[in-house]
Symmetry: C2
Subunit: 202 residues, 2 copies
């Protein structure tokens, strides 16, 4: 399989962590792919019309997007049902928590575009504040209802950890660690797992 | 169940169409919910931290987000496997096409925010062009590989139809109908279905 991604993208990292956790990472060739809004990667757009990363192309040449679908595909390849809590009472709770963690990550990426892509004279500070207000509400929810530790990681756990580490990486001055001590403690052993160590953006 | 939504949101409409197609719409109370970036709906954020619509709250008081998860939940409630082509060889193709249709819809919504929410002096035309370049690439792909007609609608079909009707509703001057004749013909009987007629934004 070919995974079009880049180390800095949190959604690509989520998929790479999933691949490691499922023991599939050696079956995946990561193709470093640059995408930037307003600067189209036309070669990539030939097969990935939205030119978002990550995208997976299977051995049969089939395109699979976006990151939740790729994660589901990888789990299905190895017959794993734990990642998405398939068939378990917690399934829709896992899916909802995954959607919230991923949505909060999208807020971070939207802020990043505002700061790093948009011309400075067109920057709207209120937009960035609004995005981080949502991130804060999501972290407050996760702090109050932390994931259970131990056992297999779910996709919700992986996505939340990727979000927190992305905040460290791109928004260190946001200072989430001083406000969410339960999540700090929860993250520590997860960030030390081989799947996270191997996919660290630098 | 309570569905927090508004007639103008394409993601809420997708869920409402799904509810109709599954015969569940009479079990759902739609709570008209206003959300706008930079103008937080704090009451809604109490239980929906990202304050995005739609959100579903079940009879047991459980939050379910986002729209793909709600659609999956509704299908699971009635034991439906056709909507997501569960267990069928086409499953990941349906999921990928759904992700592309939904992603293109997100491009439209991002453009809408740029035009209708952001102060005019901070508008970046190149951003809007970039979003619509992606929409165009997605529509070109769908035009070349149109959904098969007849039989049950999949979530990919519903999402694509919602995208096309959202373009009619908000971006009539984009003129998609003059460039994608296969999609125009495909859409016509779908837009006439009771599920789409009942959920038309005006």
């Amino acid at each position: 399989m070919k995974l079009y991604s880049t180390p800095a993208t949190p959604f690509g990292r989520t998929v790479e962590v999933v691949a490691h956790e499922l023991g599939l990472h050696e079956d995946i060739e990561v193709i470093a792919t640059k995408v930037a809004p307003t600067n189209p990667n036309l070669e990539y757009q030939q097969f990935a019309p939205l030119r978002k990363i990550p995208a997976l192309v299977t051995e049969e040449g089939k395109l699979i997007v976006d990151s939740p679908v790729i994660a589901e595909y990888l789990a299905a390849r190895v017959g794993d049902t734990a990642l998405f809590a398939q068939g378990q009472p917690s399934h829709f709770d896992v899916m909802t928590r995954y959607a919230i963690a991923r949505g909060a990550t999208e807020c971070c990426v939207a802020s990043r575009y505002e700061i790093a892509v948009r011309p400075p004279e067109l920057r709207w500070d209120k937009w960035i504040e609004d995005q981080f207000d949502r991130v804060g509400a999501a972290l407050t929810m996760f702090e109050a209802t932390p994931p259970t530790s131990g056992g297999r990681l779910t996709i919700a756990d992986i996505s939340l950890a990727v979000l927190l580490l992305y905040l460290d990486f791109r928004f260190d001055d946001y200072g989430w660690r001083s406000r969410y001590p339960t999540l700090v403690a929860w993250l520590e052993p997860i960030a030390a797992r081989p799947s996270f160590v191997a996919t660290k953006a630098s």
